[in-house]
């Protein structure tokens, strides 16, 4: 029997080449993408967008260690991002002081490695706050995270010497020893810094999922009772995951500290905490790449759409609700579903159904967007009118309401029909 078992080890699990395809190739792809971007000669705007994306990717990945992998819904994850970031900003100040003063430890500490300080700060905060928080999962955890976030955010405005009050604390990244020949002054040099740490962050959160603790965190999410009967303390599993998650959030905070050279108490508040929740969930919490997609999309929306439309937060809310209601797998879930559906048998049938559905969704979107934009223009009271594609759509025009209702109703009708057809077949 033992012989068979030993041989069968090789049968178990994915083969070497499968592992390579599934685990190594995506990471290499990420590294290549990160490395290639500068060769397209991006503008300053694009560079700063990319840097913001990098920060948010790591932040969202750290959040998903909790929500996706450990099943812990937190409303206060920005606390660890912020505290890590503040640790890094203060360290940046110490580097600056040391480089003008007598030296010491900080004089030889490169700014490039500030995210390490951020990691330590976030992990330390997680270690302190986590123990009472992680006793139970579910709603109690969510509520404690909310309470703690409110308390820390309030304290942030109260202790000016640490958090700098309303103006926050700023620093200068062009001090201390240079690494890899990067002065971190110009924005393209900052990009390399961000790209490096984004890769480290993604690699680190990925590696974590492969460890015994990472595996047991998923087991604890699915069945905390059973976990107790295989020798694990679910509370301790959650707690350790919480510390790591805080650490990676702090790492993102450290990246942000170097990127923006300033941190304000706002960074600790419920607003960024809510944002990271949206990023992870819209991207898809059950897929490793989900939060990356969510972070990229939302950062893009945040910086680009807010130029086009004041109502971008409304669109974001609509997108989020649509995902919660109709696509709990998030964007990654949709992509995986499309990919699988178009490969196997029934691909033609799937393709037809999806084309119809997409047509329905587009129609609904036309109606909704028109409604929102017309409302926003009306609400501004400047007398401006929404004029897409040369159409003139005042809030009291018949054409306006036709453009709103006809596509919307048609879209809903199409989706219902597609849904019924599918059920009829099943």
């Amino acid at each position: 029997m033992t012989n068979v078992a030993v041989n069968s080890v090789n049968v178990l699990g994915p083969s070497g080449s499968q592992k390579f395809m599934r685990r190594i190739v995506p990471l290499i792809a990420l590294a290549v993408v990160l490395a290639v971007i500068p060769f397209f000669g991006p503008s300053r705007t694009v560079y700063s967008l990319m840097s913001a994306m990098g920060v948010n990717i790591v932040f969202a990945m750290s959040y998903n260690m909790l929500l996706g992998r450990a099943g812990l819904l937190s409303f206060g994850h920005a606390v660890y991002f912020g505290l890590g970031g503040y640790a890094a900003v203060h360290a940046m100040g110490a580097i600056e002081a040391a480089s003008y003063g007598e030296g010491g430890f900080w004089a030889s500490y490169p700014v490039f490695f500030l995210p390490v300080i951020g990691f330590a700060g976030g992990a330390l905060a997680g270690a302190i706050i986590g123990w009472p928080s992680c006793r139970r999962a579910g709603t109690p955890f969510a509520m404690i995270s909310l309470g703690v976030a409110e308390l820390i955010a309030a304290a942030g405005f109260m202790f000016g010497s640490i958090f700098g009050g309303e103006e926050g604390i700023s620093g200068d990244r062009m001090n201390g020893p240079e690494l890899f020949g990067l002065s971190l002054g110009p924005i393209d040099e900052v990009y390399w810094f961000i790209a490096f740490w984004t890769f480290i962050g993604v690699l680190g959160t990925y590696a974590f999922t492969r460890t015994p603790l990472g595996k047991m965190s998923e087991a604890t999410r699915d069945n905390p009772e059973r976990v107790e009967f295989v020798g694990y303390d679910p509370q301790k599993v959650r707690y350790l995951v919480f510390i790591f998650s805080g650490g990676f959030a702090g790492l993102a905070g450290g990246m942000a500290a170097v990127n923006y050279e300033i941190f304000t108490p706002e960074a600790l508040s419920l607003v960024p905490s809510g944002m990271v929740l949206l990023m992870a969930y819209i991207g898809g919490i059950r897929y490793f790449a989900g939060p990356i997609m969510g972070a990229v999309l939302l950062t893009y929306m945040q910086s680009m759409m807010s130029d086009y439309s004041e109502a971008w937060l409304l669109y974001l809310g609509l997108l989020f609700i649509a995902i919660v209601m109709f696509a709990p797998g998030g964007l990654a879930g949709i992509v995986v579903g499309l990919f699988n559906g178009l490969r196997g048998e029934g691909a033609g049938e799937n393709f037809r159904r999806w084309s119809v559905q997409i047509a329905g969704i587009v129609l609904i979107m036309i109606g909704l967007i028109t409604l929102v934009e017309v409302s926003v223009h009306w609400s501004n009271n400047y007398g401006e009118v929404f004029e897409p594609f040369g159409m003139h759509l005042p809030h009291d025009g018949v054409l306006t309401w036709a453009v709103i209702f006809i596509p919307f109703v048609a879209g809903v009708g199409i989706l219902r029909m597609a849904h019924k057809n599918k059920e009829g077949q099943a």
């Binding site: 099943g71 819904l73 009472p132 006793r135 139970r136 579910g138 709603t139 109690p140 969510a142 509520m143 404690i144 909310l146 309470g147 703690v148 409110e150 308390l151 309030a154 304290a155 109260m158 202790f159 000016g160 010497s161 419920l270 809510g274 929740l277 969930y281 109502a311 937060l313 409304l314 974001l316 809310g317 609509l318 989020f320 609700i321 919660v324 209601m325 109709f326 709990p328 929102v372 409302s375 926003v376 609400s379």
Partner: protein, 310 residues
């Protein structure tokens, strides 16, 4: 002395307002397990609806119709939104209401603008009712007190003296039992959700002009409502009442106390010149609810009077 009397009065009124705002959520949370993040958004809608109605007609019509409208919106949200999400579990429901709160915030900003609207106390009640220690006390606050007490009485009557109330009471402590009694569970849920939202709406009608009606009011009140429900305990309206009063009084008194940390901890050598010593008790008032929330979840997860843990 006068500080104490005024703080007591204001604290009780604020506490009653909090209870009015939270009682609906206690019902919803206990029966359906949904910790509705958008509950305070319905409170905000109540205030804005009341503003619009009273602009067009009168405050008294608003007092009746604004809560009904809010209740209808709530029922629709339950029927077409929450019910779809329900199959995916409580976290999905919580997230749905989280998104909904976002959405209502933005819609309010578009429809009524980003600044506070001029939702005023009705003229009929805009006079000082009595004078105490040389300070005047506005009649509207006493009106608020009476509306809250009337709501309390009505709620008590419905829950204890009507058949529907008895079903709701049974469902509060044994949510899984309702189905076995042969009742239409989805309809009960929709009704409870609608009524809960209407109560929040009523709080908005009364609180909107007592406090201020602006798009930030939901975000400010939202977490505090959670505190009341969680601290009060699952399944217990009485607990929510106690928690609301406690919170109302604590916050009001904290604001009224003119002291700094240094005054209290001076014997430990804490000087007023230090950062910690210069913190005033009043500035801690907004933190009190969350301190209570975290402490109660750590020490007594079932809340003050809850019959089961969260």
């Amino acid at each position: 002395m006068e500080t104490i009397v005024f703080s007591l009065l204001n604290g009780v009124i604020y506490g009653l307002l909090l209870f009015m705002l939270s009682s609906g959520l206690t019902l919803i949370f206990s029966m359906m397990g949904v910790l509705n993040f958008a509950h305070a958004s319905f409170y905000m809608l109540g205030a804005y609806f009341a503003y619009t109605i009273s602009e067009a007609s009168s405050f008294w019509l608003a007092l009746v119709f604004a809560p009904i409208l809010v209740g209808l919106v709530g029922a629709l949200v339950e029927k077409y939104g929450l019910r779809t999400v329900h199959v995916n579990g409580h976290v999905a429901e919580l997230l749905f209401t989280f998104g909904l709160a976002y959405l209502i915030d933005e819609v309010v900003k578009i429809v009524w603008g980003r600044n506070a609207v001029d939702y005023r106390v009705p003229e009929l009640l805009d006079f000082p009712l009595f004078e105490l220690f040389g300070a005047q006390y506005p009649a509207y606050r006493i009106f608020t007190l009476f509306v809250a007490l009337a709501m309390l009485a009505a709620l008590w009557f419905i829950l204890n003296r009507t058949r529907a109330g008895l079903i709701i009471q049974a469902a509060l402590s044994h949510p899984h039992m309702v189905g076995h009694l042969g009742h239409n569970v989805p309809r009960i849920f929709m009704t409870v959700f609608g009524v809960g939202c209407a109560l929040a709406g009523l709080a908005g009608v009364i609180g909107g002009n007592y406090l201020v009606t602006d798009p930030a009011m939901a975000v400010q009140m939202g977490p505090i409502v959670f505190v009341v429900v969680v601290v009060g305990g699952l399944g217990s309206l009485m607990g929510a009442f106690l928690a609301a009063m406690l919170l109302g009084l604590l916050q009001t008194f904290a604001v009224a106390i003119d002291a700094r940390f240094a005054d209290i901890f001076g014997w430990l050598g804490l000087s007023e010149a230090t950062e910690l010593g210069s913190i005033t008790i009043a500035s801690l008032a907004p933190m009190i609810p969350f301190l209570m929330l975290v402490l109660i979840l750590m020490v007594r997860p079932r809340g003050l009077l809850g019959d089961r843990e969260l």
